[in-house]
């Protein structure tokens, strides 16, 4: 008897509840099948009644069922419970760290804004040597307000000196490149002069060229009182888009002190020479003293001139403003369909960025859960089948 014959004989016997095969051996098999089925255990009537009632009632839940299930899980499957706790902790850690890194990146971007604003001034301030730290202080105020929040506030520095060094002499300069609209070039030029006047500054040189083509532009060489430099730069920066902004500081305290000391010495020497001249015994001696006084006078003039120049340079900052006009087409970023499209693109990029971050966290968690789930199913099946071994 082959598999097919056996199967058909069994099915026929079970369906008809009779052994009706003609072949004695086959009939014997069918009788065996029916005997096995007839020998199957029957449920106790009382139990059947109780279960019928429970089914009819929709299997009402017993009190404390959840607690019992947890207790059963802890006692019968402690490994599974431990695995669940470990997985939960791992997921919590991943979420916490992902959230933490997200916050960090936000601070980082704020920090990068500060670095960006400082980048323009960095090369020049570096070359200015010791004055660089003093000059870096005002820079954050020109950056975005968000950036200034992220940077801890440094020790306040008085304009024109280092920390704790009010009498130091610092020569300052700044360079601004503004990009006004091409048709507003003249107006912006007028406003540059107005700002200079407002802060008691001086326009040493200026040139504004308005042309239809690419030849238009302008530049200004200004002198702004050092005390007014920062507010003046702030107002100048507000006149148009700032393409670049550079600030320099140069400490000239040493040459200033040296020149002043030398001038004092020369004045003292001159006074001494004048006294000696009053008491000169001979004409020859008087002539020698006068010659010396003339030399000292020349030196006094030179030192006074140097001091005056230093005083002027430290009292007034040199500010260079360059106007590089731009076309309205490129400038109208805030209106129109193009602007809307750009805003839409930016929003989409931001959304994709957020989506990727979420995916970056959710995907490993989902994979972990799926793997744990599959492993749990596989282990359960193996354990169950082992009961039949």
């Amino acid at each position: 008897m082959n598999v097919e014959t056996t199967t058909s004989l069994i099915d026929a016997a079970l369906a008809s509840d009779a052994a009706n095969a003609l072949d004695p051996e086959e009939r014997r098999l069918q009788e065996l099948v029916l005997a096995i089925r007839a020998d199957a255990p029957a449920p106790d009537p009382d139990f059947e009644l109780r279960l019928n009632a429970r089914v009819a009632a929709g299997f009402p839940r017993r009190r404390g069922g959840a607690r019992k299930r947890i207790h059963a899980l802890l006692t019968t499957r402690p490994q599974l419970a431990a695995l669940g706790v470990a997985a939960s902790l791992l997921i919590a850690l991943v979420v916490v760290f992902a959230g933490g890194s997200g916050g960090g990146s936000g601070t980082g971007s704020a920090g990068s804004a500060v670095a960006g604003s400082g980048a323009a001034s960095a090369p020049s301030t570096a070359s200015s040597g010791a004055a660089a730290p003093a000059e870096k202080t005002p820079a954050p105020s020109t950056a975005s307000s968000g950036a200034s929040v992220a940077v801890p506030a440094p020790t306040p520095i008085q304009p024109g000196g280092f920390v704790g060094g009010r009498n130091r002499k610092v020569e300052r300069s700044a360079a601004l490149v503004l990009a006004p609209l091409r048709d507003q070039l003249s107006a912006v030029g007028d406003q540059v002069i107005a700002v200079t006047d407002r802060y008691r500054g001086v326009v040493l040189q200026s040139s504004v060229t308005s042309a239809a083509g690419n030849g238009s532009g302008g530049w200004f060489d200004l002198r702004i009182p050092t005390a007014n430099l920062q507010p003046a730069l702030r107002d100048l920066s507000a006149l148009a888009d700032v393409k670049s902004r550079t600030e320099n500081a140069n400490d000239v305290t040493a040459p200033w002190v040296s020149a002043r000391t030398r001038l004092q010495e020369l004045n003292a020497e001159r006074r001494g020479l004048l006294r000696r001249l009053e008491h000169a015994a001979t004409d020859q001696a008087a002539a020698a003293i006068r010659a010396r006084i003339r030399i000292v006078n020349h030196e006094i003039d030179a030192q006074t001139s140097a001091l005056t120049d230093l005083r002027r340079r430290t009292s007034y900052a040199s500010v260079s403003v360059t106007l590089e006009p731009r076309n309205r087409k490129a400038a109208t970023a805030g209106t129109g369909i193009g602007s809307g499209a750009r805003a839409l693109r930016d929003s989409l990029i931001a959304s994709v960025n957020i989506g990727l971050r979420v995916l970056g966290v959710a995907l490993p968690i989902a994979i972990l859960i799926a793997v744990l789930w599959a492993a749990r199913g596989w282990l359960t099946r193996r354990r169950r089948e082992a009961a039949l071994s």
Binding site: M1, L29, L32, I36, D39, P43, V55, F59, R384, A387
Partner: protein
């Protein structure tokens, strides 16, 4: 003990989402599920517990049943088998599986006198089977499942079910001829 197959088929096609549909399935399968579980566990009390647990689980999970993954009966027998194997494992761990004495059969004295020879032969033959073979035989003869349904429950192919069943029946025949 066994209900008509047509009744079972009807029950398997009933929508399980309603309480009435589940009751129909329960009525059609309960005696066979009990017979199968008792054959596997060989312990009346344990069989009652497992049958009750199996139907309660099926009731709670009835929303998850999908006809595409097999009949409702195969689904219920799968749940019952899992519960029975869990119980079997627990019983083995407690070392109380002295069920070879098998208290699940309690026929009337009249029936006993009428079919004692055959029953003795059958029990001896069944005892000679491997546990996995006994599981298969119980699904087929006590549970009344088709080979397709058994394949679903055990997670093997229908052909494999036929082959295993053939081998098990051959063993039973040889055991009965001794």
């Amino acid at each position: 003990v066994n209900d008509a197959p047509t009744e079972a088929v009807t029950a398997s096609t009933v929508a399980l989402s309603t309480a009435e549909g589940f009751e129909d399935l329960y009525r059609a399968t309960f005696p066979r599920v009990y017979a199968y579980v008792a054959s596997l566990l060989r312990d009346r009390a344990a069989a009652e517990d497992v049958a009750a647990v199996a139907f309660e689980r099926a009731y709670r999970k009835r929303g998850r049943f999908s006809p595409r993954r097999g009949s409702a009966e195969a689904w219920v027998f799968g749940i019952a088998r899992n519960a029975a194997l869990d119980e079997l494992r627990r019983l083995k761990r407690r070392a109380t599986l002295e069920a070879e004495t098998a208290d699940v059969w309690s026929p009337s004295p009249h029936e006993e006198a009428e079919r004692s020879f055959t029953r003795e032969e059958v029990r001896t033959a069944l005892a000679s089977l491997e546990p996995r073979e006994r599981d298969l035989v119980a699904l087929k003869f006590a549970g009344g499942l088709t080979n397709v349904e058994i394949a679903r429950v055990l997670g093997i192919s229908e052909t494999n079910v036929g082959s295993r069943l053939h081998r098990a029946v051959e063993k039973l025949r040889k055991a009965c001829h001794r």
